[in-house]
């Protein structure tokens, strides 16, 4: 049990997806302009990441490895995830229209993104079993959501501050992300992996 807890905490905080592994920066800088959007994005990422990781694990171990097609994993993962997200979007649109109004656009934004593709690749590299890879995906998603929401709250404060004109916008956002990463650096080495 403690093994899984450590894996979760390690993926969520110590090896944070954005701030330590630099994945999903497009979303991180694109969506973090307001708090509300970033929290829905965070939820969308957690759920899609977990589901797509389960799906790709199954495909990897029951189709790719027995047939000796392991070298095709990148192509297969990308296509499977894109199709899966597309189907999920249709289902949500049909059966849960209120949820679709809040989430719809985020689902499609996520479809081909390095955060979502990153988790299955990390799982495949570390050779995790089914439960472990699911926990890893859940932890990574949670970590991404935490970082996104923290950063969005910081950026909202930034709107009222007097920033030098040349680093206004993207420049100061990067420096701010650096400071946030510095804070997360304090967690490194907490859990030996």
């Amino acid at each position: 049990m403690s093994e899984y807890f450590l894996l979760f905490m390690g993926a969520a905080i110590v090896n944070n997806f954005v701030l330590t592994r630099y994945l999903g920066l497009c979303i991180f800088f694109g969506v973090s302009k307001n708090f509300h959007a970033s929290s829905s994005m965070g939820l969308a990422i957690i759920s899609i990441m977990t589901m797509s990781s389960m799906l790709t694990w199954t495909i990897e171990h029951f189709i790719l490895l027995p047939l000796g097609l392991y070298f095709l994993k990148t192509i297969v993962f990308v296509v499977v995830i894109a199709v899966f997200v597309q189907i999920l979007e249709m289902v949500i649109k049909k059966f849960m229209p209120t949820l679709y109004n809040v989430w719809g656009i985020y689902l499609l934004l996520v479809a081909t993104n390095c955060v979502i593709l990153g988790v299955p690749l990390i799982n495949a590299e570390a050779n995790y079993n089914f439960l472990k890879s699911t926990v890893n995906a859940l932890g990574s998603g949670t970590g991404f959501a935490i970082a996104l929401i923290l950063f969005a709250s910081l950026r909202e404060k930034l709107q009222f501050s007097d920033v030098p004109k040349s680093i206004e916008g993207l420049g100061i956002a990067f420096i701010l992300a650096g400071m946030l990463a510095l804070a997360f650096q304090g967690f490194s080495g907490m859990i030996p992996l």
């Binding site: 630099y22 994945l23 081909t112 040349s166 990067f174």
Partner: protein, 211 residues
């Protein structure tokens, strides 16, 4: 002349990293030293050029409704080829780049060039566009890699340049340094552009004054 323009626009004016702010993940992840940055840059250049050529060759055949999946499959195939080649000939680089190499598949810049340029233009201009954008990307990676390796380790391409008196701040090579360095580079680029604009305005006013 026109082709030369297609090539040079990717270097500065539409630099993928600093201007368009696309594909930032690798720009931070593998730039802690120059060698990795160069390897990644050249790989992306290869992928973007090949993909642009394929997309523009088949631009009249691909149905617009399924174009994005077709582009993604084409990119994924080329990336797999690049990965297998690197694994065979540059195993150390392959190991250092790790999962970021596979993630070239989802770089926004490659899909963006296919969609914006290659789907509408002939093969040769698309190839030049891909080369230019790839060169711009490599240039950006090299700039960030040089700054980070120089400050954080006092070396260039693995050769020690600054002497033993130099105490490198390790943080520049670690995660936070990458963000801060890119923030400052964007700031400097904006500043220089502002200066240029001001100078131009001043000279125009001066020219107007003499007449």
């Amino acid at each position: 002349m026109n082709l030369w323009k297609e090539f040079t626009k990717g270097l500065i004016d539409e630099n993928p990293i600093f201007r368009l702010a696309l594909s930032l993940c690798p720009a931070l992840a593998v730039t802690s030293n120059v060698y990795n940055a160069l390897g990644m840059g050249l790989t992306v250049m290869f992928v973007i050029t090949c993909n642009n050529m394929i997309v523009s060759t088949f631009r009249n055949v691909i149905h617009p409704k399924v174009r994005v999946p077709v582009y993604i499959i084409s990119i994924a195939t080329i990336v797999t080829v690049a990965m297998l080649t690197l694994e065979a000939f540059f195993p150390i680089l392959f190991k250092e780049l790790g999962i970021y190499l596979a993630l070239v598949v989802v770089f926004a810049i490659i899909l963006a060039r296919a969609e914006v340029f290659a789907a509408k233009n002939k093969v040769i201009p698309s190839m030049i566009d891909g080369l230019g954008m790839g060169a711009g990307f490599t240039l950006g990676m090299l700039v960030i890699g040089t700054i980070r390796e120089m400050i954080g380790n006092g070396s260039f391409m693995g050769y020690q340049i600054l002497g033993s008196w130099y105490q490198p701040p390790l943080i520049v090579i670690l995660a936070p340094g990458g963000f801060i360095v890119i923030g400052f580079i964007i700031g400097f680029m904006n500043l220089s552009e502002e200066r240029k604009k001001q100078k131009k305005e001043k000279s125009e006013i001066a020219a107007g004054g003499t007449i």
